[in-house]
């Protein structure tokens, strides 16, 4: 793998490129937000390695204002991160000399990926209503504070230590995720293999393959979670041609 710098409208983004033999397709990974990004780091790395082993190059990167990328987090909005994904896609396409882009996202990263143009799309547990995600985080933070006790509690609008500005909160709340894609793998990752209500509308949607994987939510676990089944499913789907295979 190779550390790379991607030029976006908001500055230089840090990325890690995983080279591989194929030149028809390159995968760009869209991480989730805050603590979920940290705890899913290893899984994204393992996914990139699995894709490389299957011959598919990929790019991991940090949104502006996060991780090792330039930018002030307080200026972050979903619009800015969408521009980052577009810049990362252009970079990856050029780097891999690939014709097609496959976006792969988790949680909020999935919601962002779903709003970007792509030839192929892999969504891990996307947030279909990102506004709900914000409310749940506020609730989780308040409960965590009561559980550990002491202190004045998290500041209003804070998620895992990130101060979510009104502009970012509003841009997340405004997101509407309605999947319309001709080549998409939608993976429900949860405690049950029964399809959850939020994904039920996509059970038989043309161009969307819905799969349910029963495994722990690795994005909210500090300890190691074996994401092997999810990684293998994803690598096989991407390397094998996805929803359009056999048509």
């Amino acid at each position: 793998m190779e550390p790379v710098t991607i030029t976006s409208s908001s500055g230089e983004l840090f990325g890690m490129y995983h080279p591989a033999d194929r030149d028809d397709l390159v995968v760009v990974m869209c991480p989730p937000f805050a603590e979920e990004k940290k705890t899913s780091y290893r899984t994204f790395h393992e996914q990139a390695a699995a894709l490389a082993a299957a011959g598919v190059p990929s790019l991991r990167f940090d949104y502006s204002g996060t991780g090792d990328s330039q930018g002030d987090f307080r200026e972050s909005t979903i619009g800015r991160w969408l521009e980052d994904v577009a810049a990362a896609s252009d970079f990856a396409r050029s780097k891999a000399k690939a014709e097609k882009i496959c976006l792969l996202g988790l949680r909020l990263g999935s919601s962002i990926a779903a709003c970007c143009p792509s030839d192929r799309l892999v969504l891990w547990q996307p947030l279909m209503e990102p506004a709900t995600y914000l409310r749940a985080n506020v609730k989780k933070q308040a409960m965590r504070q009561k559980m550990i006790g002491g202190g004045s509690g998290p500041a209003a609008g804070e998620i895992d230590g990130y101060v979510v500005t009104d502009a970012l909160a509003e841009s997340i709340s405004m997101m509407r995720v309605e999947l319309v894609h001709s080549d998409c793998l939608l993976v429900q990752v949860s405690y049950t293999e029964k399809v959850l209500a939020e994904y039920a509308p996509y059970r038989e949607r043309e161009g969307i393959e819905l799969r349910a994987v029963r495994m722990e939510p690795f994005w909210s676990r500090l300890g190691r979670v074996d994401a092997g089944p999810l990684i293998r499913l994803t690598a096989e789907w991407i390397a094998g041609g996805g929803a359009t295979a056999g048509r």
Binding site: V138, K140, M143, R144, K146, M147, Y191, T192, L222
Partner: protein
């Protein structure tokens, strides 16, 4: 899901937290956080599970960690909520 509140809570906890025990092996008064190493993130999953399984809303202002110390007290809390 069992019709008994305590049994339903145990099934939900085992399923959602991927615990390697049978639901019936959880005692009504077992200290969940100590015995099953439940941290704040997993506790939140129990909160969400209670809301989804029993159709109640647990506000953050209303949240008391003592309620979630064992199955017996969670069940009492659920019954109180449902009775309102």
């Amino acid at each position: 899901m069992s019709e008994n509140v305590e049994s339903s809570i145990k099934e939900m906890i085992v399923e959602r937290l991927f615990l390697d025990v049978a639901p019936d092996d959880i005692g009504d008064e077992d200290h969940l956080m100590e015995k099953y190493d439940i941290d704040s993130v997993r506790l939140f999953e129990i909160v969400i599970g209670i809301e989804e399984v029993f159709g109640v809303v647990i506000d953050e202002a209303d949240f008391d960690v003592e309620v979630f110390k064992d199955v017996k007290s969670i069940a009492e809390y659920v019954r109180t909520k449902q009775a309102r």
